[in-house]
Amino acid sequence: MTDHGHQGPAPRVAIQFQDLAKQEHAAHFGMWLFLGSELLLFAGLFGLYTAYRTRYATAFAEAVHHNALWIGTTNVVILIVSSFTVAWAVHSLRRDRRRTTLWSLAITMLLGLLFLVFKGIEYGIHFRDGVFPGHYYAYQEMPGHGAQLFFTLYYFMTGLHALHMIGGLAAIGWVAARVARGKTTAAYPIPLELGALYWHLVDSIWIFLWPMFYLTTG
């Protein structure tokens, strides 16, 4: 067994694992499998976007104009920075810097909340214009099917993403509480590492949604 030389209780190895290293690998590997399945949940939606963009290329390009570029871009910057702060939290916890860890996590959560606030503002703008998903679409300026499908996909993909953000915030909050109480420590940082991995996936998805829904080209 490795000598950790860190503060915090020595982690328990469950009976099915031969040693702590295998248990930790299982945790990370299992989390990656879960992230893989989450990515594949979005896969169908990327597929639908591919299909409908191919079919309604002009309408999609026009509809992108309506989305607020400044909100989408601010949000992608927010999430990239928040990935940095959560990675910094993991890095700090490993070096046993509990206060830095907690500050980094707090900023991460704040950024996440900010993302959702901007998203809410953006949805509000859409509702005001009559942009609703599916059969409720009522945007006079772009009445065609292509735009209707664009916004339906936009709502569904960003909405699903936002739900995952909320889940991510809950996970990070839960881990932060554990760090504050001294339950997740340098000796056993796994819950924070796994929460951070989830957060990075949520960021990665937005990195793709940004060009798909906000960057007009031609």
Binding site: A26, G30, G44, L48, G134, L149, F156
Partner: protein
């Protein structure tokens, strides 16, 4: 000496267990109930079709019967059964491990399955569903039945499947006994591993497709709705992206059972271990490249029709490799005719026949004639019932002594197997002829010329049902009154047989030392 069955007692010790063996038994009961329910729907279909005109079901109810049959059989039985029952029970033992990687997640996946099944059953009971188990748009968005609830229920069951797959993959990677290398694991483990990969990758796409249908039905999301410019064929792409690999989720574990049964009862190592191990991965991979063959006449581009047709033929290569390997294994072995072996011979005939008809329907120019007829129905039942169900029954008999410490009555086993196999042949062979003669699937009534084949099929279904009931009867009897089994009644070299019968809670009395391969029949057992 206590075993996993007797170590703790009381209902809570079962419902809150983290022991993979008890969880396997919980799944065994749940999936068996699903099989019986699905079977009831099947019999209702077959009895309605005995005469050309309406008998005792009206059209809407008939549509609900085949939909319910499909949904219950596919999602509540075929997809989960062998992994959750025998995978759960034996995967850790075959690796020399005391449990799976995440025992609490394992229990959770059982309750998620139950929750999903409950939602599905609620949908079937209140309003039913009549879209076919395939939920095609645009009808699924407008059907007056409980589509949204049923689709959501299947989504939840899918979550259970993903969790099981995830658990098994991590288990194989991290819990192998010291000295147990990848290419020394029992072949059943390879089969479960390949299946688990498909479960994790494919199921989320099904989840998304059903979520979109549920939202369309409930709230008018309309993403596949032609009146909104949507394309209903896109639903089919998403649906079959899962549902084709799903059939490999259904057959790969059965093939894993075949490898174990064949080697044990021919007292021989597999003629090529690597052929079987790697072809499992091959099937898992190529299986993802073939989904469009369900959509040859749906209006896809010619490019997709051509590409998917060719790729679909390639998957048969891997199945053929397995069939030849098993055959050569038998040739050089000492065969014993037990009930599992009889089921295996049924499997060989039915799976090969069904597989060949699969290559036939993969030929898109021929499929134009056969698609949406009973020919396709017969094809997939030959694989699913003739392939998976036979090996599910073989697995029950093969591992019965290890799981319960008792032997089943061999003579009754042979009778049950004969009833199931012969009943099956009489049920579904006529359906190839019906389909080739033009009878469409999912039709409630038909022209009188098709009647005698329908009657033959229903007669076969009755025999099949009786065979299954007889089997259930003597198995339950054997649970309580069967003669006590010794540790390794079959003389198998599999690692699970090294454990006591029935096994203790942590599977082995001391950590398992692997000193030989799982098919070393040239060596003494211990």
């Amino acid at each position: 000496m206590t075993s996993y069955l007797t170590e703790t007692t009381g209902i809570k010790s079962w419902l809150l267990t983290k022991d993979h063996k008890r969880i396997g038994l919980l799944f065994m009961i749940a999936t068996a109930l699903a099989l019986m329910l699905g079977g009831v729907f099947a019999l209702l279909i077959r009895f309605e079709l005995v005469s050309p005109g309406p008998d005792f079901l009206d059209g809407l109810t008939y549509n609900q019967m085949f939909t319910h049959h499909g949904v219950v059989m596919v999602f509540l039985f075929m997809v989960p059964v062998i992994p959750t029952v025998f995978g759960n029970f034996f995967l850790p033992m075959m690796l020399g491990a005391p449990d799976v990687a995440f025992p609490r997640l394992n229990l959770a996946s059982f309750y998620v399955y139950c929750a999903g099944a409950a939602i599905v059953l609620a949908a079937l009971w209140f309003g039913g569903i009549d879209t076919g188990w395939t939920f095609y748009t645009p009808y699924s968005a407008t059907s007056p039945t409980s589509v949204a609830t049923a689709a959501f229920g299947v989504f939840v069951v899918g979550v259970s499947s993903i969790l099981t797959g995830l658990n098994f993959i991590v288990t194989v990677h991290t819990l192998r006994a010291k000295n147990l290398r990848w290419l020394e694991m029992p072949l059943f483990v390879w089969a479960i591993y390949a299946t688990a990969i498909i479960q994790v990758i494919a199921t989320p796409v099904l989840g998304m497709s059903l979520l979109l249908v549920a939202l369309d039905h409930a709230w008018g999301l309309g993403i596949f709705d032609p009146s909104m410019g949507g394309d209903p064929v896109l639903f089919q792409h998403l649906f079959w992206f899962y549902s084709h690999p799903a059939v490999y989720i259904m057959i790969l574990p059965a093939m894993g059972v075949v490898s174990e049964v064949v080697c044990t009862f021919s007292h021989n190592r597999p003629s090529s271990y690597r052929a079987i191990a790697f072809s499992s991965l091959g099937i898992a991979f190529i299986g993802f490249l073939t989904w469009g063959h369900h959509m040859f006449v749906a209006g896809m581009s010619v490019v997709d029709v051509g590409v998917f047709g060719i790729l679909s033929m390639m998957v048969a290569i891997f199945s053929a490799i397995k069939v030849f390997t098993w055959t050569i294994t038998l040739k050089h072995g000492r065969i014993r005719f037990t009930t599992p072996m009889l089921y295996f011979f049924g499997f060989m005939f039915l799976f090969v026949f069904g597989g060949m008809t699969g290559v036939a329907v993969a030929t898109s120019s021929l499929d134009v004639h056969w698609t949406d007829t009973y020919f396709v129905v017969a094809h997939f039942h030959f694989i699913m019932v003739g392939g998976t169900l036979t090996m599910y029954l073989a697995a029950i008999h093969y591992w019965f002594p290890k799981m319960f410490g008792r032997m089943y009555p061999e003579r009754w086993g042979l009778i049950g197997a004969a009833g199931v196999i012969l009943g099956f042949i009489f049920t579904f062979t006529p359906q190839f002829l019906l389909g080739n003669a033009g009878m469409p699937r999912r039709y409630w009534t038909y022209p009188p010329d098709y009647q005698w084949l329908n009657v033959a099929s229903t007669a076969g279904a009755t025999i099949l049902a009786l065979g299954l009931l007889v089997t259930l009867g003597y198995l339950i009897w054997a649970l309580f009154k069967g003669p006590k089994a010794e540790r390794n009644p079959w003389g198998s070299r599999g690692y699970e047989w090294l454990a006591p019968t029935p096994p203790p809670v942590h599977n082995f009395e001391a950590p398992l030392e692997i000193t030989r391969g799982p098919y070393d029949y040239h060596l003494p057992e211990t």
